[in-house]
């Protein structure tokens, strides 16, 4: 479903060249859950952002369902409709209520009628467990609630793939669980997911495969049981010793 081939992303700031994503190739099958882990600055977030074109890459190719992001004829906006993304800092639109947050893209991009988009939004809010907050502004919500709204907002577009960029890193510890629960439900329903996270428990429990990044390189690609119990790469071994 997702096909990444020889992806290269170089940051060149004031003469300092960083190969943030260095020749990464992988593929994700429909319904598969990938968890991407690695130390900070290892390029895992950049890799994720390349998957929906938020970051323009320097070489290689990324395609979802055969639509190639590197092809200049590809309509990037049409491509992104099919790829949901959840950010570390939620990035809810603060000037809109929760319901309006969920309805904006449905209205502007999908051109859905008012009744249809609001029904869809309320159904998804109920699904993530905050139906009663539809009329609130995001600033009145806790971090965990905001992140669940963000997940619902992405789901409104009925994406084929969901990308999660450290969705629990900005949350208070007691709120991490509620967000992970929503993600687990999504995984069980067969959503194709790529998650950058530091939640090793989630990775072990939900992931089909674990990708380990360091210095922009994909160093290990293994099922969670094998990765956590017997990592082959020495840097992965060192990393796991530190976090577990």
């Amino acid at each position: 479903m997702i096909e990444v081939r020889d992806l290269v992303k170089v940051f060149d700031t004031r003469g300092q060249v960083v190969r943030a994503v260095d020749n990464v190739s992988t593929q994700v099958a429909r319904g598969e859950v990938l968890v991407v882990i690695g130390p900070s600055g290892s390029g895992k977030s950049t890799f994720l952002r390349c998957l929906n074109g938020l970051e323009a890459f320097d070489a290689g190719s990324v395609s979802i369902d055969g639509v190639d992001l590197a092809d200049p004829r590809t309509d990037i906006n049409a491509y992104r409709r099919e790829v949901g993304m959840v950010f570390q800092h939620f990035n809810l639109f603060p000037h809109m209520t929760v319901l309006e947050n969920l309805c904006l893209a449905q209205k502007v991009v999908r051109k859905r009628g008012k009744a249809e988009r609001e029904d869809k939004a309320r159904a998804l809010l109920a699904k993530v467990g905050i139906a009663q907050k539809a009329a609130e502004y995001p600033s009145r919500l806790s971090g965990g609630q905001q992140q669940r709204v963000a997940i619902a907002r992405a789901l409104c577009m009925e994406p084929k793939v969901m990308l999660f960029d450290e969705p629990t890193s900005a949350l208070d510890p007691e709120m991490v669980g509620e967000v992970l629960d929503v993600m687990k439900t999504l995984a069980l329903e067969g959503m194709t997911m790529v998650c950058v996270t530091h939640e090793m428990g989630f990775a072990r429990e939900v992931a089909d495969r674990v990708l380990f990044f360091d210095h922009g390189k994909l160093l290990e690609d293994a099922p969670p049981a094998q990765f956590f119990d017997a990592p082959r790469d020495p840097r992965a071994q060192a990393f796991l010793r530190q976090v577990l």
């Binding site: 938020l54 950010f87 000037h95 809109m96 893209a105």
Partner: protein, 320 residues
């Protein structure tokens, strides 16, 4: 430190006393220069009872006069056979029944209230401010977005515009617009004045808009784009509404400045508030009174404007 509850009214009282003291000092100092305050001369410059003379249209005779309250209806028969019916104020009647009248003879006057020069000036200042403010906002919005455009030509052109306008005095721009561009393109003085003010305001609004858009976190645009909105939709629905809320205070300041800057178009003989004031002084010699009135009239525009901006700010602040 424990927060102490302070009484506020003594301080407000002190403020009041200081203001009253200043007013007394002002009054005292004018009494030293033996200036005679003549406020009674001022109202006529706001509104006055205008008289319009009614005249006979032809040689003829006054046939009848019917009183009708404070009005009088005259019927004149002309030598050529026609008939003329005129209404005048009764107490100004200058003819009686049976009088012969010649063409152009005054029969009486009608009176009505008319706006004086200060009110006309206020109106001119108002519409010039509104026209140039609306235009300036549009120009500023477009230019501000051009300043942020990925297209280098748009970026360069908008930068040149902003720097040229910000770097030259408004007075000089008005002269250039009226004497140079106005002559070349045959513009009216009002058009030249409004255009100069709009372009001047536009440059400042552009910088305000640019700063506002840049102050919105990049994640907002990224979130909108990741949902499939294109750049224009993201700007329109996500970034600009938030930016607008943030730049409302400087924007209000800019419009208040604009209202005051309209006084400069008096140099190209547009009779707005300041020029009306100067004209009122030439006939009344009440220099102090008129200038105080002119200042008060500018406040009449600007105080509600800043009040409105404050209310809008609070309403947009609902989501915080």
């Amino acid at each position: 430190m424990i927060k102490k509850k302070r009484l506020l009214w003594p301080w407000h009282l002190l403020t009041g006393l200081i203001l009253v003291g200043l007013a007394i000092a002002l009054w005292y100092s004018t009494s030293l220069i033996s200036y005679e305050w003549r406020w009674n001369r001022v109202p006529q410059y706001f509104a006055y009872h205008a008289e319009e003379a009614q005249r006979a249209a032809d040689y003829g005779r006054v046939e009848s006069i019917d009183a009708d309250g404070s009005r009088a209806r005259l019927v004149l028969s002309a030598e050529s056979g026609g008939q003329q019916v005129v209404e005048v104020d009764r107490d100004s009647l200058q003819v009686a029944v049976g009088d012969d009248v010649s063409e152009g003879d005054s029969l009486g006057v009608t009176r009505h209230w008319a706006a004086g020069p200060l009110l006309w000036g206020l109106w001119t200042t108002l519409w010039i401010s509104m026209a140039s403010g609306a235009l300036g906002l549009l120009i500023g919005l477009a230019t501000g977005l051009c300043r942020l455009s990925p297209n280098p030509t748009l970026r360069d052109l908008s930068t040149v515009y902003v720097e040229l306008v910000r770097g030259t005095p408004l007075l000089v721009q008005i002269f250039i617009f009226y004497f140079f561009i106005g002559t070349v393109l045959n513009l009216s003085r009002e058009f030249a004045g409004v255009a100069a003010l709009a372009l001047f305001t536009g440059a400042y609004v552009a910088e305000i808009v640019r700063a506002g858009v840049q102050s919105i976190a990049r994640g907002q645009d990224e979130a909108a784009r990741s949902l499939g909105l294109n750049a224009a939709q993201s700007m329109r629905h996500v970034v600009l509404p938030q930016a607008f809320k943030r730049v409302l205070p400087p924007l209000a300041g800019q419009f208040i400045s604009l209202v005051k800057d309209t006084s400069l178009v008096s140099v190209i003989a547009i009779t707005e508030l300041t020029k009306s004031g100067r004209e009122a002084i030439t006939t009344s010699f009440s220099t102090f009174e008129i200038w105080f009135c002119v200042a008060a009239l500018y406040l009449v525009i600007n105080l509600p404007l800043s009040h409105l901006a404050g209310r809008l700010e609070r309403r947009l602040g609902q989501s915080d």
